[in-house]
């Protein structure tokens, strides 16, 4: 049976400039695939033997590699409408100047790297900078983050789905103490705006912590605002699907998804017991149905 979070998110697709032309990448029920490459296994073998990896298959590979990348939480979207201005624009202007400006004395153990770009940061832009810096022995970006940016550049729908994928991956794990701060950030950054909009309070007044164990968690109104304790799975099943607030109620979990219909657990106000609520998705919006 498909996990609720996979079913709650509708399929998405994006166009990628592959070697043979523009190809579609498709995400459905938690799986990213490249329909234009039906014999992907054979292509992977060729790649392993020294052939060029196609862009479609590279992105599919990166998707699985970054399925538990916690950096998604720190740079990825905080709300479903949070748009990252990352474009896959190979025409982005990137000016790189190296040696010409460096006199000999400066060149001793140094390399001048000057770059200037115009327009929004594109994948090409970031990668070019990364490469230029790496050549100078200076790597502030990190290879893995460049790969992550390439995935985020697939578009907002994929950004949400990647966030849900990572949240789902960590929801089922035993969390080491060193990872807790990142998960706390992931929840606080996404739950605080939702809860603030739900109650009409300042997001800074929402104190969020991760719920670990059975049950859905807890919501408690305090003098200074709201204290919320929810599991990480909330990010995958509720937040990414756009189910956070339905009909003035805060959804704290999803119990079942059947096509466009879903059953969620929702509370009308802090302190209430969550009640099942049946909702239906119409034109990417969820509405309550009797």
């Amino acid at each position: 049976m498909t996990e609720p979070w996979r079913a709650a998110l509708p399929p998405a697709s994006a166009t990628v400039a592959c070697a043979a032309g523009p190809h579609r990448l498709r995400w459905k029920e938690g799986v990213l695939s490249a329909p234009a490459h039906p014999d992907s296994e054979a292509e992977l073998v060729l790649t392993a033997l020294g052939g060029d990896e196609t862009e479609c298959l590279r992105l599919v590979r990166l998707w699985s590699q970054h399925a538990d990348d916690l950096n998604v939480f720190t740079i990825g979207p905080r709300t479903p409408t949070d748009r990252l201005k990352l474009v896959r624009d190979e025409r982005a202007t990137v000016i790189q100047l190296t040696a010409p400006l460096a006199p000999r004395r400066l060149a001793k153990g140094h390399r001048v790297v000057v770059t200037a770009g115009i327009g929004p940061p594109s994948v090409a832009h970031v990668v070019a900078r990364h490469n230029a810096l790496r050549r100078s022995g200076f790597d502030p970006v990190g290879e893995h983050r460049v790969e992550l940016l390439a995935l985020l550049a697939l578009g907002p729908a994929f950004q949400l789905r990647l966030t849900a994928t990572v949240a789902s991956a960590w929801a089922d794990r035993k969390i080491p103490p060193s990872t807790e701060p990142r998960l706390a950030q992931a929840l606080a950054g996404r739950l605080a705006p939702v809860a603030a909009g739900w109650l009409g309070i300042d997001p800074d007044q929402v104190q969020v912590s991760r719920h670990d164990g059975p049950g859905w968690g807890d919501l408690e109104r305090t003098e200074s605002g709201l204290r919320a304790t929810l599991p990480l799975s909330w990010l995958a099943s509720v937040w990414a699907a756009g189910l956070s607030v339905v009909d003035g109620r805060l959804a704290v979990g999803v119990t079942e998804v059947n096509g466009p219909r879903a059953t969620v657990l929702a509370v009308r106000r802090p302190g209430d017991r969550p009640e099942p609520l049946t909702v239906v998705r119409r034109a990417s919006k969820w509405t309550v149905t009797p």
């Binding site: 950096n71 720190t74 740079i75 905080r78 949070d82 748009r83 990252l84 201005k85 990352l86 202007t93 000016i95 400006l101 006199p103 004395r105 400066l106 001793k108 153990g109 140094h110 390399r111 001048v112 790297v113 000057v114 770059t115 200037a116 770009g117 115009i118 327009g119 929004p120 940061p121 970031v126 900078r129 810096l133 100078s136 022995g137 200076f138 502030p140 970006v141 983050r145 985020l152 103490p177 060193s178 807790e180 701060p181 990142r182 706390a184 950030q185 606080a188 950054g189 605080a192 705006p193 997001p203 800074d204 969020v208």
Partner: protein, 570 residues
């Protein structure tokens, strides 16, 4: 330094500290995305970094004049074409690298410059990160990663122009390769007064100390330049006023002629620098002057001959028999005192700002809630700890507006050091003179420091320090320097009469991984003092240098603190 406050720190919970910082980053990001995104630049060509490279040589005067004129003409033309262009001048940065000054500035950019609100958010986050690192609650790499991710999140939402920073940057120096041992840092006290006759004019130079590392040698000195000739400036041509104070300093030209050789016949490239553009505010002596010698003298060299002006006899600087260094004691700070150091640094900032100007209050009021919020939010100190109560008491005494978390704390007795500097804040009884102090300090936070001179005036005391980072340049140290809890090691001093002195200001020059630092301490030395303890503190270590007040006079160092008439040097 127990005199500075009482230890009130708790055992540090690293996860809690990191969580605090990450949640703070989320709050800042929420505020940042409410700001308007940056727009695409209408004039892409204006985005090119305008770079100039120049070497500090006599020709630089001509070069500077030409480039300044060219820049003024360029800006004037743009202002004529586009009203209000001047407001869009982008940031400029200056660095010194391998004997070159490199300045970069970006023209254009209101559309690209980060919103001040965005900048303030980055500063708040970086300051909180620096506080937690300094308190030992968080590793520097973890804190930097959080700030770095926050910047990237802003860039991806078009709230920050570029990434990692600005339109251009310099590569970091490569670390020394294995098998290439760095020369041990050496500091040698010289202590020579050299009068010079330049044609019919007289000049005077005090040679203080020589600091030698793997790449270069720096000779610190004070100089009293010759008086300007009357016919230097034609009457019909008005004196040129600097158009940009930040552009350059004005060294005395006569030291451009200095030459240096050693006993092995090696000629050194001697480049003269000073940060005193027009002499000291009290007199015309150039205090922060230095000759940089390249290459560094070989370890086998026995002496250097320094000729300050053609035709004058050379001054011999012995390298093989340096005077004994002053007494040094180093100690590790207990973990529970590191948070107290943060509070002490904040107190230092408050004392410094109070002295600078009453308008500086908002700066400290900006830092107070960040630092105290980070320390209490991360659980490093209790909200009602004695250290914070002392800080609140100091804030009230200095008339600072305190954040609510401090305003509610009851008054308590101030540490002796704080009381001392407050009680003697208006003292102007310091002896006037210089001391050719030289000492290599043990590493502090991965940085080697060398003391290379002390100067006392009626109102303050100044130290010359040279720093070398062992860990290589961290680009964020430069980017977030202003946001760090403090960019230099904490320096306090106590003379043997019991008068305390705190760092009230500093000037620094950065190049590669080297820092040339001049720190001003106030109040001045007590007139009866015969020695002073210089206390240099990192985040986890502290070094005390006990320095006898041996003043340099025309006849050489005089081991007597009582300088007749308060005048020991030019």
């Amino acid at each position: 330094m127990t005199e500075h406050g009482s230890g009130a720190a708790r055992l540090v919970d690293t996860e809690r500290a990191e969580t605090y910082l990450r949640v703070l980053a989320e709050a800042e990001l929420r505020g940042a995305v409410k700001q308007r995104p940056l727009r695409r630049p209408p004039w892409p060509w204006l985005e090119r970094p305008q770079r100039r490279l120049r070497r500090v040589r006599p020709l630089r005067l001509l070069f500077r004049r030409v480039s300044r004129r060219a820049r003024a003409v360029r800006i004037a033309r743009l202002q004529a074409e586009r009203p209000g262009f001047g407001r869009w001048l982008g940031p400029r940065r200056r660095h010194r690298q391998g004997g070159w000054f490199v300045s970069a500035h970006t023209l254009g950019g209101r559309h690209r410059s980060p919103n001040p609100t965005i900048n303030a958010g980055i500063t708040r986050l970086a300051a909180a990160a620096g506080t937690l690192v300094a308190a030992g609650a968080l590793e520097s790499a973890a804190a930097d990663a959080i700030v770095d991710s926050y910047r990237l999140a802003l860039v991806l939402r078009r709230r920050l122009d570029d990434w990692p920073f600005g339109a251009g940057w310099w590569g970091s120096p490569q670390r020394p390769t294995a098998g290439q041992p760095a020369r041990p840092l050496t500091a040698i006290s010289i202590g020579r007064h050299v009068p010079l006759a330049l044609e019919e004019r007289r000049a005077e130079v005090n040679l203080l100390s020589l600091v030698i590392d793997n790449d270069r040698a720096v000779l610190t000195l004070t100089a009293k330049p010759p008086p300007a000739l009357d016919d230097d400036q034609p009457d019909d041509e008005p004196a040129e006023q600097p158009e940009d104070d930040d552009d350059d300093y004005e060294p005395t030209e006569f030291l451009f002629e200095a030459t240096v050789t050693d006993d092995q016949g090696t000629d050194y490239d001697a480049a003269y620098y000073t940060n005193d553009a027009d002499g000291d505010e009290d007199d015309d002596e150039l205090w922060t002057s230095q000759l940089e010698l390249t290459p560094a003298p070989a370890t086998s060299a026995r002496w250097l001959d320094l000729t300050l002006w053609p035709g004058t006899p050379p001054v011999r600087v012995p390298l093989d028999a340096p005077p004994a260094p002053p007494e040094l004691t180093a100690e590790q700070l207990p973990a529970d005192l590191r948070a107290e150091q943060c509070v002490s640094a904040l107190a230092e900032t408050m004392l410094k700002l109070r002295r600078l100007s009453p308008e500086a209050g908002p700066v400290a009021e900006f830092a107070l809630p960040i630092v105290t919020g980070a320390l209490t939010g991360a659980g490093v100190v209790a909200p009602d700890s004695p250290a914070l109560r002392q800080l609140a008491s100091l804030g009230r005494r200095l008339d600072f507006a305190l954040p609510a978390s401090l305003a509610n704390l009851a008054d308590t007795e101030l540490p002796p050091a704080w009381r001392s500097v407050l009680d003697d804040a208006d003292a102007a009884d310091g002896p006037v003179g210089v001391i050719p102090a030289a000492a290599v300090l043990p590493d502090l936070d991965g940085t080697s420091w060398a003391l290379a001179g002390l100067r006392s005036t009626a109102k303050s005391m100044q130290l010359r320090l040279f720093g070398w980072s062992l860990a290589g340049t961290d680009h964020r140290r430069q980017v977030d320097r202003s946001a760090r809890l403090r960019e230099t090691p904490g320096v306090w001093a106590r003379d043997d009469t019991g008068r305390w002195h705190h760092a009230a200001g500093s000037e620094s020059s950065q190049s590669d991984d080297q820092t040339d630092l001049t720190i001003e301490l106030v109040p001045p030395l007590h007139p009866m003092a015969t020695s002073v303890d210089l206390i240099v503190a990192g985040t986890s270590e502290r070094v005390t240098v006990t320095l006898p007040l041996t003043w340099l006079t025309a006849g050489g160092p005089v081991p007597d603190a009582q300088v007749p008439g308060g005048e020991a040097t030019p």
